[in-house]
Symmetry: C2
Subunit: 413 residues, 2 copies
């Protein structure tokens, strides 16, 4: 007597008040398509073996064949794709609450940096922590992200800036199931006199192993960090190893980030609070995604990026938290959605695409993440609200009721 092969697990999420997902598209959601969203009232999602196999209206749901199906009652709730956070610095220990308190009374970011706060204070704490503490830290922050509906997250190294801590950071991010980015060029660590000398070290001693561990490389192109010449050198070397490229740019000043990103075929330029007209036009005409970080602009009391101009001129726009201890202690993409609606003048459909399919493209997983459609990973957020747009409307609200990752409900704690 032979046993039947084990059935792959099937889960039917039924009677959803609403389902909202970026519409099918062959490419990124840009320009006139930036907000193409499909809305179903009274919907179901059928998941099997971790993937979505059917999405539809309850009134068209026929009997399900082929074995047991678990059911999850979605009534009174709305389903959206699991959110994708494509820009976080979640691998650090310690905090910068003292710096936050000083800034609240008027000190600027750069003044605090010059006074010995800033990135290097986190570098010191992170170097001292050990890899196990880094795994714990990323996992704890990952769990907080999940409670806010994030099912796919990127995290950067960059608080090590030595060989051991950079590689430990990338391993910690992988251990927490994040998408790792080597931010080897985040700041110039104190043991180097200048950026060139530090890059000599980082490219010779860290890159070969970082390239095996990371999916992309990133650079902070800004005064007091790395200039365009140094960024070109760093990114070109990283590209040689097969890493995808990303850039922090135009946060405080325009320093040539956008032309460099386009020249090198980077996946994204992130921040863009200081971008002028020429930069907006150049990005809009390119395939480089503009990753906007309004929680960071809010946290620092800085101007917001020009989302409306970027979208109206046809750019590909993604939104992310920029979660980090210094300039955005915030794991919440729903808060970012609220800021996008109220500060960036983005329509709610544009916001949904900018939190799902477009950041998935930045992370190179848009074929599996960011949509609720057959073949995509069964990563779903169930909002405990009567309309999916409460995601942005309910400012700092507890909007996330349940999260499915690969078809499995997560214990959100």
């Amino acid at each position: 007597m032979t046993e039947a092969p084990a059935q792959p697990r099937r889960l039917l999420v039924r009677d959803l008040a609403q389902l909202a997902t970026p519409a099918p598209a062959s490419g990124p959601m840009r320009g006139a398509h930036a907000g193409d969203v499909t809305i179903l009232e009274g919907a179901y999602v059928l998941c099997e073996a971790g993937r979505v196999v059917e999405v539809g209206s309850m009134r068209k749901l026929g009997p399900l064949e082929g074995g047991d199906v678990e059911e999850l009652d979605g009534s009174g709730r709305c389903a959206i794709p699991g959110l994708v956070d494509c820009h976080t610095h979640a691998c650090f220990v310690g905090d910068r609450v003292e710096e936050f308190a000083l800034r609240a009374r008027g000190a600027t970011y750069e003044e605090l940096h010059a006074a010995g706060g800033g990135i290097l204070s986190t570098v010191e704490a992170t170097r001292a922590a050990g890899e196990e503490a880094l795994v714990d830290a990323v996992t704890r922050h990952r769990d907080a992200m999940r409670r806010h509906g994030t099912t796919t997250f990127e995290a950067k190294s960059g608080y090590g800036l030595d060989r051991e801590t950079e590689l430990a950071s990338l391993r910690a991010i992988r251990a927490a199931r994040g998408v790792p980015t080597w931010l080897g060029a985040h700041a110039i660590p104190p043991e180097f006199d200048d950026g060139d000398a530090y890059l000599d070290f980082a490219l010779a001693e860290v890159l070969p192993d970082a390239a095996r561990l990371a999916a992309a490389a990133d650079v902070f192109l800004e005064r007091n960090a790395f200039d365009a010449t140094q960024a070109r050198r760093y990114l070109s070397a990283c590209r040689e190893t097969g890493l995808a490229l990303r850039l922090h740019g135009d946060q405080f000043t325009e320093a040539g980030t956008i032309p460099l990103a386009i020249e090198l075929g980077a996946r994204s330029v992130d921040h863009l609070e200081a971008t002028g007209d020429a930069g907006v036009d150049a990005l809009a005409a390119s395939d480089v995604t503009a990753v906007l970080l309004p929680a960071s602009a809010l946290f620092l009391g800085r101007p917001m990026p020009r989302a409306r101009d970027l979208l109206d001129r046809g750019a590909i726009v993604a939104l992310a938290t920029d979660f980090n201890p210094g300039s955005a202690y915030c794991e919440s993409l729903p808060l970012v959605a609220s800021l996008a609606a109220t500060q960036l003048r983005m329509g709610l459909e544009e916001i949904l695409c900018a939190l799902t399919v477009n950041p998935a493209r930045v992370l190179g997983c848009a074929d599996r993440k960011g949509r609720l459609a057959p073949g995509y990973d069964a990563d779903l957020v169930l909002l405990g609200e009567p309309d999916w747009r409460y995601l942005a409307y309910h400012l700092a609200g507890d909007v996330v009721d349940a999260v499915l990752l690969g078809g499995e409900p997560l214990a959100l704690g």
Copy 2:
């Protein structure tokens, strides 16, 4: 044989990482005292019969005499007083998510109001709801506030604007244990031609009963609502009945609110986004509290109020959510704290006072609420964070770990 009298319940919250509370003061926290906060590292709070009886350092905690004491482990957590939200419009049904979505794409508050959205659309839904639905709604919103650490909340009527619904609203707020404010002059309902005719009705037909149910009266002094002459008439009549007075003012335009508030001895003027120098100076020289509502300014994409000027010139400042369906769908005072630190340039100690002792004064309960000190109600928030300042630092974070109301832990759901 006689039984011993029942012991009042005693609860010891012990081993707190930190305790932060506004310092003892005979009057409101203003000017140089606006941020007087006492911080204890390694602290306890002893509660008995709903009140705080002792606050101190663990190292000075002696043996407790006189019967059983329950213990609550506060290790790794920080205690602050229960937060006091002195300005909400929590008594409504329905939502305005459609209006929010339109505004995200550029429509202004007043355009939406003129187009039939705005307050009157909520009035229509609230009038149709019935008192039981109002009790359910206020209770649900109250529970959300509690999850964010609010233990005392005010709520206004003002979405009825007829006799039956205004009185039902005030009863519903009382049923949910809120502090009720009669916002009889919120908008001019459609069945009246002008504000004077509506006030004739409201003062004759609603005020006599509203005065028995409410603790204060409030008016929306703004173009398209009520002017200063009408506001004086309304508030003077309310004052005759013994109600405390409050005013919505200077939200979009300056229209004489501050001089009127001072003339009438009002408890507060709320909003102040449009207040100029003379208004700031007049408020600072008065005993009228400036209630700032940065979540509302954020939600509407409006300028922030001039908190720094108000504080530096000596005004009494409180912060509140303005929770309402149209211009601030936000129950979270921790989010307001983050906005105060990042947008209003308030120091974190000033923020704590503006969320506790100062709003308690607006609500007339500063002798019992807003401080952790002997004799005060045992309303505590335990933050699941290593430093009390995460209240503002952890943007949209799940900072509230537990809430005690009158010494009883609440089930936060």
